[in-house]
């Protein structure tokens, strides 16, 4: 080890040790800075990965919604039977077309009241999409299936009764449905978010809410993921040829835009973290200047007995690098612990914590911390090396 055997490195180490408290205090700035940027970086990597993983499972979905409506569709916007026919014709039979009626309504289970999303779709399509965990698919107009999260919240079992609607309202008035089955958990999904919903037969839905043949959303599960772009173009051509009628989104581009948004948020947070690194750099700079000022006489001695300028420079750069290494290493340890907790608290999972993208932030953080320290030491080192040895020898 050439550096460790270097007398100038030895001198730097001894000087840091001699002013241990001061050096430690200066290094704390770097610790905080490294913790800030590394933790945010790790959190960001975990967020991106977990969101991407959730969404990628649904990367093969094209979502069509009425132009101007979308997720918060108002009643005037819908996808008509005619448009649906066009869609089905365009995508062919190998791709699953899910035409969904959706609404949300007040529900009452026993004495508990709340609201829930109510979807209706063709039962054959539903069978293709999601299995029932217990019970069976609805066979009569008044039977429904419910998502597992909703079932858990309202303690629903097969055979439970749900009152849908407001009991004081006349049109549509409150009706009771029976749970015939509880669906399997699907997590975040693009084609049908069934975990928190009540899914009814189309007939029941249109009887209650009207608007038969006016779908709120049509999703297409594409069999071949590589055909998505092509299909989107074809759909766009078929539906929006004359006028933009239907908004077409594919889950891939949605993933990209969500990832990009997370990226911006993380970059912004990192910039705030970087401010703490800047403060740390100032404190390192200050300590290094102090170190140079205290050692003017010593610099004079070293120079007079034959130490080159570059060697003096090296000695002070080593010193700031040592502060950087101590600070950054401590920072790395703390950010490993801190970001693990942070990730767990914010994402409820540390599934992606021990991945390359996540943990690579730690060496990055260490590197940035050390580089900042060394840069902070450049001017003091330059100042030390450029002293006139005669003047320096005269100092006390």
């Amino acid at each position: 080890m050439i550096i460790l055997d270097d007398i100038f490195f030895e001198l730097s180490v001894r000087n840091v040790r001699l002013h241990f408290l001061r050096s430690l205090l200066a290094a704390i700035g770097i610790v905080i800075g490294v913790v800030a940027i590394t933790s945010i970086g790790i959190l960001g990597a975990n967020m991106t990965q977990s969101v991407t993983a959730d969404l990628s499972a649904n990367g093969n979905v094209i979502m069509l919604s009425p132009q101007g409506g979308g997720f918060f569709s108002d009643d005037d916007d819908y996808i008509s039977q005619k448009q649906l026919a066009k869609i089905e014709k365009t995508v062919g039979t190998e791709n699953l077309v899910i035409a969904i009626y959706s609404d949300s309504d007040k529900i009452t289970v026993g004495s508990e009241e709340g609201r829930a999303s109510i979807y209706a779709l063709d039962m054959d399509v539903l069978k293709n999409l999601v299995e029932v965990e217990t019970g069976d698919y609805p066979t009569s107009l008044t039977s429904v299936v419910v998502g597992p999260s909703l079932a858990e919240r309202y303690k629903l079992k097969v055979g439970s009764r749900i009152k849908i609607g407001d009991k004081d309202k006349e049109d549509p008035k409150q009706t009771t449905v029976r749970v015939s089955g509880i669906l399997k958990e699907r997590g975040m999904s693009m084609d049908l978010s069934s975990d928190n919903a009540i899914i009814t037969m189309e007939k029941w839905f249109t009887n209650r809410y009207g608007d038969e043949g006016k779908y709120d959303q049509v999703n297409i599960v594409v069999a071949d993921i590589n055909a998505i772009d092509d299909l989107v173009d074809k759909l766009d051509h078929a539906l929006n040829y004359r006028k933009d009628e239907v908004r077409i989104m594919d889950s891939g581009s949605l993933i990209e835009s969500i990832s990009a948004t997370i990226g911006i948020i993380i970059a912004f947070m990192s910039a705030i973290g970087a401010i703490s690194l800047l403060v740390a750099a100032v404190s390192i700079f200050n300590v290094m200047l102090m170190s140079v000022t205290e050692r003017i006489k010593e610099i004079g001695i070293l120079r007079s007995i034959g130490t080159r300028r570059s060697e003096i420079r090296r000695m002070f750069l080593y010193e700031s690098a040592i502060l950087g290494i101590i600070g950054s290493t401590l920072g790395a340890v703390f950010s490993l612990i801190g970001s693990f907790l942070l990730t767990y608290l914010m994402l409820n999972t540390t599934e992606y914590f021990f991945t390359m993208q996540s943990l690579i932030q730690i060496p990055y953080g260490i590197l940035i911390g050390i580089v900042i320290c060394v840069i902070s030491g450049v001017y003091p080192a330059w100042k030390a090396s450029n002293m006139d040895p005669i003047e320096a020898l005269r100092a006390d």
Partner: protein, 232 residues
């Protein structure tokens, strides 16, 4: 003498430019010092003797005139070359000893050797020099501030010798020592001179100067008197 002088000054002038004034510290000084000489440079403070020592010690370069150290024209050297010249040709002994506080005694002596060879000493030469100046192995791991002034000056002498310099430069070597240790240090320098070392010493103390074979008296940047002392 046909031999080349180890130090040769030709019409050396050193002018310090101050914001409001110019000070001529050395005025057209010519001087030759040969191998094996023991020269004392004497004078009042402000006479230019320290400036002369700084020139000879290659810590500073003349404003005009030529200075040759062991045949090297210092005006032709850059900072690194001057630094290497100090390291290889000159051994310094200062009034305030000027040991490096972060290094122990052995390392202080070893330091110029490391600068020259770029590696740690494994030959035990620093220890040998310390023993020669009267500091046994028991104290060599101490830091400079843990020993007395006289002992520090012995370490400084050992350090000055480690690179086998052509010239030993002493700046008031006994200025911070009591009379007893002063004598010891001067006897040591005298021994070194007797072994053939060239010594140039700046002092204003007559007793110290008496050890030198040649005394040069400075005033207002000029040599005003030169004496040869054959009794020493």
């Amino acid at each position: 003498m046909t031999e080349e002088p180890v130090i040769k000054l030709e019409n050396v002038t050193k002018i310090y430019v101050l914001p409001t004034d110019q000070v001529t510290a050395l005025n057209n000084v010519s001087l030759e010092i040969y191998k094996g000489e023991f020269v004392a440079i004497m004078g009042q403070s402000g006479s230019g003797k320290s400036t002369l020592l700084n020139q000879i010690g290659c810590l500073d370069v003349p404003t005009s005139g030529k200075l040759y150290i062991d045949g090297n024209d210092v005006s032709l050297l850059n900072d690194d070359q001057l630094t290497d010249l100090r390291r290889d040709k000159i051994g310094y002994i200062f009034q305030q000893f000027n040991l490096i506080p972060l290094l122990n005694l052995r390392e202080n002596v070893e330091y110029p050797l490391i600068l020259k060879t770029k590696k740690r000493d494994t030959t035990g030469y620093p220890e040998k020099l310390l023993e020669m100046v009267g500091l046994g192995t028991s104290r060599i791991m101490h830091k400079p501030k843990e020993i007395s002034g006289g002992q520090q000056q012995r370490v400084a002498i050992a350090r000055a010798l480690v690179n086998d310099p052509t010239i030993i430069l002493c700046d008031e070597p006994t200025g911070n020592l009591d009379s007893k240790t002063s004598i010891q240090v001067m006897e040591m320098l005298k021994d070194l001179n007797n072994q053939g070392r060239t010594i140039v010493m700046v002092t204003h103390d007559e007793e110290t100067a008496a050890y030198a074979k040649r005394q040069i008296l400075f005033s207002d940047g000029e040599i005003i008197e030169e004496r040869f002392n054959d009794n020493s």
